[in-house]
Symmetry: C2
Subunit: 299 residues, 2 copies
């Protein structure tokens, strides 16, 4: 059973500190560190880990232990909103694991973190204990600075741990979700309004596809301003990449604009790309057991 | 180092015989049997194996040993042309292996087969000892029945083994090639001439893409006659599926016909589908190290 864990922690500027934190995670046997992305202006890092449930539990506890001593939100500042020195810990099912396995693991991890360090823990997404607490943005609203007040609200009683913030660490959000794909589509225009209109049409919150979060923004590519539809695909198995791309293509054409290119940021499950190929190549009767590498893994 | 081997042997009608043959292969440690396809009217089976070089060498020798005692081409008849009780043994590079590794393995296997059973062996494709001996169809022309005569021709001196056919087994063709994808495109028409014209335009032999073999034929799908472009994609890394599909689409449109669907027969390397997704989704800067499962395998 392989599970992925993508903890975000609130240090992205001091390389030595980041390295020391990650080293504590690497030291846990069975934890594989697949990726590390740090952003100095966000002052935030994103770790991608994989392993079985027990290894990840140890890895996450090691991460929290390292951050509790090296990150102090009373002085930490950055572009990215944060509530905790470790801000969010999602568990994601991979080969042989289910979302239910990840929900169980999230609850165990949440309880263990609260116990070990007296840190308030909120469960989110598929592990959430109430509907209003599913979304990360909703839980994190108010950030570290607003935490003391928020924790007093009965709607925001933590799932584990004390009703006071940890004085330097804050609080942490732990949960389970399907793999998320960070996917951007660049339009052949510098008109950001077109990207914003398109984003409004495809994101769930304003009437679009169920498992799409999107916004339109201007990015700089090789010195040129490019309008971009920036997305988080929150369940590619239900809302596939190809359907959204074709909708963007259609909506952009209505504005006389083509898709210039697209990009996937970070990791993408092979299945998302296989599904796209199956769609565009018009395959019939195709199953992923026909993928050689899948057959090698499972036979 | 993982290598694939796809031996074809000349029994497809007697399930008990097929099972006994495959059991001898399975008994070799380190050999993974990924797939078995048998066709009674062809009277032929296709085995898909994977393993390291040493395991596959033992597996192929076990296969030849089993077929030498159970298949007799003097009485075997079927739709598919054949020269040997084991007809062809291609080795194909997978993870961590190169085509050169497979050429070496083909030579070792050819020599071992000849030695063990006094069977003439021809090397083909990337292992071929002369240009006119690269193609399987050219080597096999004349089949089992024409072998005695063919072997006397200096152009067809075997690479290993005697200058006489094995009396019941015949001869075997052994070699190395890139993964082959059996890929069919069904057109929304029953006019086979359209499929034949399109096939002629896309296959290498008559002016088309370098790594495409194709023919147009009529198939029966749920009782309806459908014109099909049936292809072997002989190096998808050089001539990708998506380019050929789009050419077929364009050529079919010139005849007022659409692509109804397509199918992949058997196994396909994930990379071929990832390449298609990358093309259709217009991804930029994408590398296969961004595929989660690849990252898990290599990190």
């Amino acid at each position: 059973m392989m599970i992925e864990c993508v903890p975000n922690f609130s240090e992205g500027a001091r390389p030595g500190v980041i390295e020391a934190i990650v080293a504590r995670v690497r030291a846990e046997s069975g934890v594989r560190v697949l990726d590390l992305q740090s952003d100095a202006s966000h002052n935030r890092s994103v770790l991608t880990l994989a392993g079985d449930a027990e290894s990840l539990l140890r890895g996450v506890l090691a991460l929290v232990g390292a951050c509790v001593t090296t990150i102090d939100l009373r002085t930490q500042r950055g572009e990215h909103p944060r509530m905790g020195a470790v801000d969010v810990v999602p568990f994601i099912p991979l080969e042989g694991a289910t979302i239910a396995d990840c929900v169980s693991l999230a609850r165990r991890a949440g309880e263990a973190i609260a116990k070990a360090h007296n840190i308030p823990v909120f469960l989110y997404e598929d592990a959430a204990s109430a509907p209003h607490r599913k979304g990360l943005e909703d839980i994190r609203r108010g950030q570290f600075e607003g935490l003391a007040t928020k924790l007093k609200d009965p709607l925001w009683r933590p799932d584990f741990g004390p009703v006071e913030p940890h004085p330097s660490f804050g609080a942490v959000v732990v949960g389970a979700r399907m793999p998320l794909i960070a996917f951007n589509v660049n339009l052949a225009t510098d008109d950001v309004e077109i990207a914003k209109k398109i984003a409004k049409g495809i994101r769930h919150s304003t009437g679009g596809y169920r498992f799409v979060k999107a916004m339109g923004l201007i990015v700089d590519i090789n010195g040129r301003k490019v309008a971009q539809v920036s997305m988080n695909m929150t369940d590619f198995t239900k809302t596939p990449l190809f359907r959204v791309v074709e909708t963007i293509r259609n909506e952009a054409a209505r504005h006389g604009v083509a898709i210039a290119g697209s990009e996937i940021v970070g990791l993408v499950p092979a299945q998302a790309l296989v599904d796209a190929a199956e769609h565009y190549l018009q395959l019939t009767g195709f199953t992923s057991s026909q993928v050689l590498e899948t057959r090698l893994r499972t036979e």
